[in-house]
Amino acid sequence: MAAPIVSFSRNAAFIRGCSQLCRRTKRPLSRTACFSKCSKSLSTSVPVRHDYDLVVIGGGSGGLACSKEAAQLGARVLVLDYVDPSPRGSRWGLGGCCVNVGCIPKKLMHHAALLGHAIHDAKKYGWNVHVDPTIDWSTLTTVVQQHVKSLNWGHRVQLKDKQVDYQNAKGSLVDAHTVRMLSASGQETTVTGNNIVLAVGGRPKYPDIPGAMEYAITSDDLFMLDRPPGKTLVIGASYVSLECAGFLTGLGFPTTVMIRSLPLRGFDRQMADLVTDHMEGSGTRFLRQHVPMAIDKMDNGQLQVVWRDGNGQQGGDTFDTVMMAVGRFANTGTLGLDTVGVEWYSESGKVIGQVENPEQSSVPNIYAIGDILHGRPELTPVAIKAGRLLAHRLFAGTHEHMDYDKVPTTVFTPLEYGSVGLSEEAALERFGSENVEVYHAFYKPLEFYIPERDASQCYVKAVCKLDGDQEIVGLHFLGPNAGEVTQGFAVALRSGLTYQQMVSSVGIHPTCAEEVVKMGITKRSGLDPTVTGC
């Protein structure tokens, strides 16, 4: 995809007026914080007392977790958070993408879509449902936004309660210890910190085509869209694209996904294909090997999209809403990384961590966590854990580092896809096909029988080493409640789970999760992996 165009409106208004000047916590430094200060002083032999022990730029999942943990350990902490409105003017409060325009509203809308589906199933189970359910978009966005706002408030309460100073200001680096704060009214002030954590996260990219910035929305806008999206085109093959297209279809909006090449790049290929197969079977239209060329607004307000297909043929259609989900860029452009010599990848804008200390940048007292850390998964719980562990290393003298291996995740498409560890491709590449055994099963959830739901894509596979007890290096689950199923298995995989241990476990009947411990068919055998009966 072409380089992102980043030109948010210049007169970016602040989300909340933070009229209060930040009030320094009056607590004396705890011994641990003092120790770090003293060691710093000794090493530089200049006794510098900075305004704060820690300045965190970015109040998302990672930044908030790090700042609260540091404050609990006695450090004096300032966190800066500022949201540039989206090109469409969407804005939100404290808490970052996950809370405001990511995981939380996404999961709620996904759930809303599943509820609609459940109403249809309910008829088959005997419920007297007299009308076909339709979604009231206004009610949905209102309740979702109410919940988001209550989380914004909760974050502010927690910061205050834990005596973390907070400023609704945009931070950038002046030198290794000095941060410039741009306030709501455009006032500039500076603050100094012994340590600085960069946690500014990412924002959606726009492809470089006519009309994209003017007319398309992104996930920054969808969850607070002031009108029903109607007939929607979602452009991109990311999990964001598929999740949004999935719940929009489920909510009853005619939805098309446009994909240039592979869906869910980086995930297991077979699983990704099953995900899109299921979506297609559930009514989402897919335009594969298509790229958008231009978007224009017609007199009736609809959007005319022109595209090119894999054969170079031009085509097009009209939509009420076009959403870009072609990836995200690290929001580091205005941080001043070069000013202080923080190394970053020009391609992604991400900060390069040190080998022995993954969150530490090339400037020793400046760290990066979350979505702007190069080569690490862009996941809220990863950012939170990395932030907390970093706070402990800085202010409690611990040495524990974030383990980025075997991080589980779930894609909340209509049929959910949970995974932990390696994809089948990655395992074959790492260990060689002669050293890998893959167990798999197609299964039908009990609940699917009565409403005659299609279970063609309900599938599970374990990617194992072939030798010995067959250590499981990757587990993939496609089915209802995949997030709930995968979490526990992720613990087991991190504890070194082998295939032999797994199949010696007893299942819980009747569940989907039991299919994981019952897997007995290998791909190598070529036998039919379809589960029948109990």
């Binding site: 909340r16 007026g17 209060q20 109410q146 209550s150 408030w153 309460v157 205050k160 309660d161």
Partner: protein, 148 residues
């Protein structure tokens, strides 16, 4: 269902704030007892920033049955001075202990309140809410009154 009457003719206190900081700004303070009186007070001040403290009622001797409420009172009274100039501050008594403890009482069930504890301090029609001992923390209470 018990219906409380308004304690007095929704008696209104005008309080002058620290003139050095805010000029001669007045926050309208209203005291009511019972849900219907509360809703009436809200209706009377529609369009303004409305803050409400739900608190345990005092007995004939003027004693509150709710120790957290007693702890919160002076903090809230101090911090309300930082509220916006056109704000209304409603103190609503939720009844005696027996009434409050009834899990079906109207404060617990009203969809816009759904109170679970007293004291509860809210900014009306927002998710901004503080409960129990948080109502006695001046930094939290100030934030609720001063920042939207």
């Amino acid at each position: 269902m018990i219906h409380f009457r308004v304690e007095s003719q929704a008696h209104v206190l005008k309080r002058s704030l620290d003139p050095g900081k805010h000029g001669n700004i007045m926050v309208v303070s209203v005291k009511v007892e019972g849900l219907s009186a509360f809703l009436e007070a809200v209706e009377n001040h529609k369009g303004k920033a409305i803050f409400a403290l739900f608190t345990g009622s005092h007995d004939a001797q003027g004693k509150s049955w709710c120790p957290d409420c007693v702890a919160a009172d002076p903090v809230v009274e101090q911090c309300v001075k930082g509220a916006p100039e056109d704000a209304v501050f409603i103190t609503c008594s939720v009844g005696d202990r027996a009434f409050w403890k009834d899990q079906n009482n109207e404060f617990r069930t009203h969809p816009k309140l759904k109170l679970t504890s007293v004291p509860t301090l809210i900014r009306w029609e927002t998710p901004q809410r503080l409960m129990e001992e948080d109502c006695a923390k001046s930094n939290l209470v100030s934030m609720l009154f001063e920042e939207d």
